[in-house]
Amino acid sequence: MAKRRGSPWTGLGAIFLKEFADHLGGARMMILEWLMLLTGVGAVYTAIQDLRQTTSEDPFLFLRLFTQGHDPLPSFTGILGFLIPLIAIGLAFDSINGEFNRRTMSRVLAQPIYRDALLLGKFLAGLSTLAVALLALWLLVMGLGLVTLGVPPTGEEVLRGIAFLIVAIAYGGVWLAAALLFSVVFRSPATSALSGLGLWLLMSVLWPLLTRFLTQALFASQSAALMGGQSLQQIEVQQGLARLSPDTLFGEAMLGILHPATRALGPVFLDQLQNAILGAPLPLTQSLLLIWPQLTGLVAGAILLFVVTYVIFQRQEVRA
């Protein structure tokens, strides 16, 4: 195959700016933002009601804003774990097939750009939109906390908050890449959106159940079952399977970064806990080290999905 000439990034900036402006000005993003704002603020508000009673007891008061749940609302992070995929799918489910259906694809590709720029520009624009929305929400939560709790956050709390933001964006990137993939594979936006939502339900609701059934089936005959417990191997397999879901990775990372007392995300033996002061917080660097695999897993997942999307898109015929 002859090598092509010219930079694959030609036109990337123009595509990024247009898509970004479309997202920010579009009615769809407005709906998603309101949804996120209302549920997010609702969750934080109920958390604040609880926290007011314990202000003086907790060294990481601000982090509780993100993690404190109060029936019937889940915690702020719980809500984000649910909403980020929804927003990402909402942003990207019709990004490529929409161009075909509007018959703008051949006109855009007839300009001196490569398809690389089109796909990457759309992905980056979606990710930036998501990042802007999350950042705004994050600042809002911090502001609400300042006003209602009357205590400023410590430096470490702010840093942990920023780490939380980065993980949330990476998590959004996975779902954005998945939605982009569906928009390349399916010509109809409705099918693409439905597939995205289906995958989201599978990953967030069904996957934890499925992993349990799968491991039980795998280890059914082994002796550990006779002793009434699970073998270590079984637990590890189950956890490994569960970590294929970005939701699991996101949940674990949230746990590690927002609960400084978290020491491990896998099984821990009793002898490992000897001399440990239970409930004592880890320093920030150790917490970051703890969630590092989760974060890289999310980023790798996003890149992998993007590459698959790229390969399929490159092979697609321009004519519908």
Binding site: A2, R4, G13
Partner: protein, 333 residues
């Protein structure tokens, strides 16, 4: 194979698009099956033929938008497979039923394309204004394209080509779906492109409508070019003559009456008293005299421009009895 390619002399350096044995296969199906094309600078060249004959596929290969299976291709001195950006920089493309971003205005749509095309920022506004004025859309420049009619979209697409200051304009079915008045106006715009020195390549399945603007045409049939040349050349090649008469008579058999007129080659019965008379010179006077002398009631007597539509039909009927206009064996969505 009956290839009746009528070649005319042209200096080699004036050829802007050249294809040699160009092929495109989709699996087993050969969409384009070894065509030769050479298009000169400044001419209007028509790719004509029914839907699914390979016209759009040829255009996509010229633009570097689809892979070439085999053959050699140069557009403006560049190879569309290896240097698609260079090709696309100098070639404007108006796709079949072009679409725009409905929520943007005409101006914003063009501005986006201008940025993609890498037009310098300080020139963009001026070029957009000029292009819109040239296609007569300056009054709706700030209207959203969602409200545009099909004809307005086509003209906006042409404005995009003009804005790019392309050297070659490739227009895919530019007049399909337009009403007669809009078609006429659009063809005038295409003539205007030629006047500006652009090379225009256009495809159409409506042979008669576009033959008027084309300097040369290539007739496509099932992935091959059956005929190539000027309309007069094709007419001479197919009918062996360049002069056509349409007559309508009653109470007579023109075939018998006209027999023996020098230069007359054929009398074709179109039914219902209508006949076409084909000759290699002007036989009007002789034909009229013979008919009247033979006692025929002459209802209509018309000298015809050679029509591509009838040429095409005649050619393929004689060849294989198939491949008629509008037959469309393969969908071209």
């Amino acid at each position: 194979m009956n290839e009746a390619i009528v070649e005319a002399e042209a200096p080699m350096n004036d050829i802007v698009i050249e294809a040699k044995r160009l092929k495109k296969r989709y699996g087993e199906f050969a969409a384009v099956d070894g065509i030769d094309l050479s298009i000169r600078r400044g001419e209007i060249f028509g790719l004509l033929g029914p839907n699914g004959a390979g016209k759009t596929t040829t255009i996509l290969m010229l633009m570097g938008l689809t892979e070439v299976t085999a053959g050699r291709l140069t557009v403006n001195g560049f190879d569309p497979v290896r240097e698609p950006l260079e090709v696309k920089r100098h070639v404007g493309y108006l796709p079949d039923s072009v679409g725009f971003y409905d929520y943007l205005t005409a101006e914003q749509n063009l501005r986006y394309t201008a940025r993609l095309a890498g037009i310098p920022r300080d020139e963009i506004d001026e070029r957009i204004g000029e292009a819109l004025a040239q296609v007569g859309l300056e009054s709706v420049a700030r209207k959203k394209t969602g409200a545009f009619s099909h004809g307005m979209r086509q003209r906006l697409g042409l404005a995009e080509v003009l804005m790019k200051k392309a050297e070659i304009a490739i227009l895919d079915e530019p007049t399909s779906g337009l009403d007669p008045q809009a078609t006429f106006e659009f063809l005038e715009l295409i003539r205007g492109l030629k006047a500006q020195g652009l090379t225009v390549l256009l495809s159409s399945h409506l042979l008669d409508r576009v033959q008027a603007v084309c300097d040369r045409v290539a007739l496509f049939n099932r992935g091959k070019i059956a005929l190539q040349g000027t309309v007069m050349e094709l007419s001479a090649a197919v009918l062996g003559a360049g002069f056509n008469l349409a007559i309508t008579v009653r109470n007579a058999d023109p075939a018998r009456l006209l027999n023996g007129i020098p230069g007359l080659t054929r009398v074709i019965d179109d039914g219902d008293g209508e006949y076409r008379v084909v000759a290699d010179r002007d036989v009007r006077a002789a034909v009229a005299r013979s008919l009247i002398a033979g006692g025929a009631t002459l209802l209509k007597f018309d000298a015809l421009e050679p029509s591509l539509d009838s040429l095409y039909r005649d050619f393929f009927e004689r060849q294989e009895g198939g491949g008629r206009i509008g037959e469309g064996t393969h969908g071209e969505a």
